[in-house]
């Protein structure tokens, strides 16, 4: 993995995490843009982005399958750090302080804050439901074999869950813009120590501890010449 000179020192997301995240993000946006025209005719002109209405109808489910697969990888990779702990509930209770940028009042946060964890779980739930309901109404492959009431239920469910997912996406995207440095973290994978300390205090402590241990190991294995070179 190559580093740019301007990249901050602390790694937050590996190159695979980032590629995975952006593949999910791109396909999710494409799904929103290709799904909204069927959600409400107000968005019909978006079908032009996909080569016309019929093409949009054909492509939408395939993009959905691709995103589900990519999300699966991401769900596995981020599973452990997305488990909601007791301290996350305190953070959620203080959501007003979060929104008003009164960060000094907030409890220290691990690698992910409760908001990020909620995005993980809501999106996971949404994507499972979208996959199931989407398959049930997929023309021309499966819909024909699905009983009509189930098909109606699936159409309703697909739209409702998509609505929840889109709102979650909006909040997620906004958070990335709002919290300075987090977008950069997901693009280049790196953050500054000060950023980590401010937004993810517990994670900061963990990383400092890791760095200390690394330096200790380095010192033990270092030759005398090396020792002089590294401060």
């Amino acid at each position: 993995m190559s580093l740019a000179k301007s990249d901050p020192p602390l790694q937050r997301y590996s190159v695979w995490n980032r590629l995975n995240h952006w593949l999910v993000a791109i396909s999710f946006v494409l799904l929103v843009l290709s799904g909204l025209p069927f959600f409400h005719p107000f968005f019909w002109s978006l079908t032009a982005l996909f080569g016309g209405p019929t093409m949009t109808r054909i492509l939408h489910p395939y993009i959905g399958l691709f995103m589900t697969l990519m999300f699966l990888f991401m769900a596995v990779a981020f599973f452990k750090e997305s488990l909601i702990k007791r301290r996350d509930l305190q953070w959620l209770r203080q959501i007003r302080d979060v929104l008003a940028n009164r960060d000094e009042r907030l409890p220290p946060v691990g690698k992910n804050n409760a908001g990020q964890k909620l995005v993980y779980w809501i999106m996971l739930g949404c994507i499972v439901l979208l996959l199931v309901t989407g398959l049930l109404i997929w023309q021309p492959y499966f819909a024909g074999a699905v009983p009509i009431t189930l098909r109606r239920l699936a159409s309703l469910g697909h739209a409702a869950v998509a609505f929840v997912a889109i709102l979650t996406l909006i909040i997620h995207v906004y958070s990335g813009i709002w919290v300075k440095g987090s977008f950069q973290a997901m693009v280049r994978g790196r953050v500054s120590w000060a950023w980590a300390r401010h937004h993810h205090g517990l994670w900061y402590e963990e990383e400092r501890e890791k760095a200390r241990k690394r330096r200790a190991i380095d010192r033990r294995h270092a030759t005398p010449t090396n020792r002089q070179e590294s401060p």
Binding site: L36, P37, F38, F39, H40, P41, F42, F43, W44, P53, T54, T56, R57, L99, A100, N101, D103, I137, Q139, P140, A143, G144, I148, T149, R151, R152, L153, S155, L156, A159, A160, F163, I166, L167, I170, I171, V173, Y174, I177, W178, V179, K180, G181, S192, W193, A194, W195, R197, H198, H199, R208, R212, R215, A216, R219, P231
Partner: protein, 309 residues
């Protein structure tokens, strides 16, 4: 002309369209209705043949499975099918109930409500509900919307097809092909008023002949249909190959397509705007000089500890 929309200025409803449709002459246009008098039908299928002829539909040759129904169901290439039911009444008399199944041309069409493609389904001022397959995207939502299970998706082009009530013939002052071909006069066509009147006359006649429950099938749940039946047993339409008792657009479809979608669309817009305004008022979340200082302190402390022998 076939396959085109023949009556563009008299469209009273158009799928997936918010603004009013052209209905310049709709006040002066009389609603039409096809009346199918089941009691007079002999099941000759002339109507089925006439439909295939006029619309140039050639379905695959099927197999005889020991019933008169052939094909067994509506298909993209068979827009109407005769359904034969043997019914034994209370006295043990056999009655052959033969229903001509095709699109009912609802006044409130579920297909049109469910369709997401602008103009793929239209309703003319005369009441005919037409598919404009050119605009059809093959999503199959019309199938979910229909309370009568009529539209069929073609395996060839994945577009939806159904009876047009010969909208092309009607536009030129002709009656639908099935009506034209019926040898017993059990299919009739005319203005809605006329047909409802005729249906009443037939019902009275049937009642006089001992069919106490004879009646007209013109279900209110879809605000009436432009294809109506005279049934010997109107109290039990289910006898006629599961003709729905009280057809209406499924509440699931209503919930999916009704007020929720515009509201949800607005909510999405408002959510995005709320984010922007939050940024405008609260400002970004940034770490400050105190964090930088604390990190420098931590680093200094660690260095000190590590350099100690």
């Amino acid at each position: 002309m076939r396959g085109d929309q023949i009556n563009l200025q008299n469209v009273i409803a158009r799928s997936a369209t918010q603004v009013p449709s052209p209905q310049e002459r709709s006040d002066g246009v009389e609603r039409v209705t096809k009346l199918i008098d089941v009691s007079r039908c002999i099941g000759c299928k002339a109507c089925q043949v006439a439909c295939a002829e006029w619309n140039d539909l050639r379905d695959e040759v099927g197999h005889n499975v020991g019933e008169y129904d052939n094909p067994l169901d509506l298909t993209p290439d068979t827009w109407q099918v005769m359904r034969f039911d043997e019914y034994e009444d209370e006295q043990g008399n056999l009655e052959w109930l033969i229903r001509k199944d095709n699109c009912m041309h609802c006044a409130e069409p579920g297909c049109l409500e469910a369709c997401p493609a602008p103009g793929a389904i239209v309703q003319y001022a005369n009441g005919i509900v037409d598919f404009n397959s050119e605009h059809c995207i093959g999503c199959g939502y019309c199938v979910s919307g229909c309370p009568f299970d009529v539209p069929r998706i073609s395996k060839k082009d994945h577009k939806a097809y159904k009876c047009t009530l010969c909208s092309d013939r009607v536009f030129h002052g002709l009656e639908p092909a099935c009506v034209k071909s019926c040898p017993t006069g059990s299919i009739m066509f005319g203005t809605r008023e006329e047909m409802l009147g005729l249906a009443e006359t037939r019902t009275d006649f049937l009642k006089g002949r001992g069919y106490d429950n004879a009646g007209v099938y013109n279900p209110e749940g879809v605000d009436g249909t432009h294809v109506i039946y005279v049934l010997q047993h109107a109290d039990r339409p289910g006898l006629y190959s599961h003709l729905p008792e009280d057809p209406r657009i499924s509440p699931l479809v209503d919930a999916w397509k009704g007020v929720t979608k515009p509201l949800a669309s607005m909510a999405i817009g408002i959510a995005a705007l709320t984010g922007f305004f939050h940024y405008v008022t609260a400002g970004p979340k940034v770490h400050g000089e105190e964090d930088e200082a604390a990190v420098r302190e931590d680093e200094a402390r660690e260095r000190e500890r590590e350099e100690r022998p």
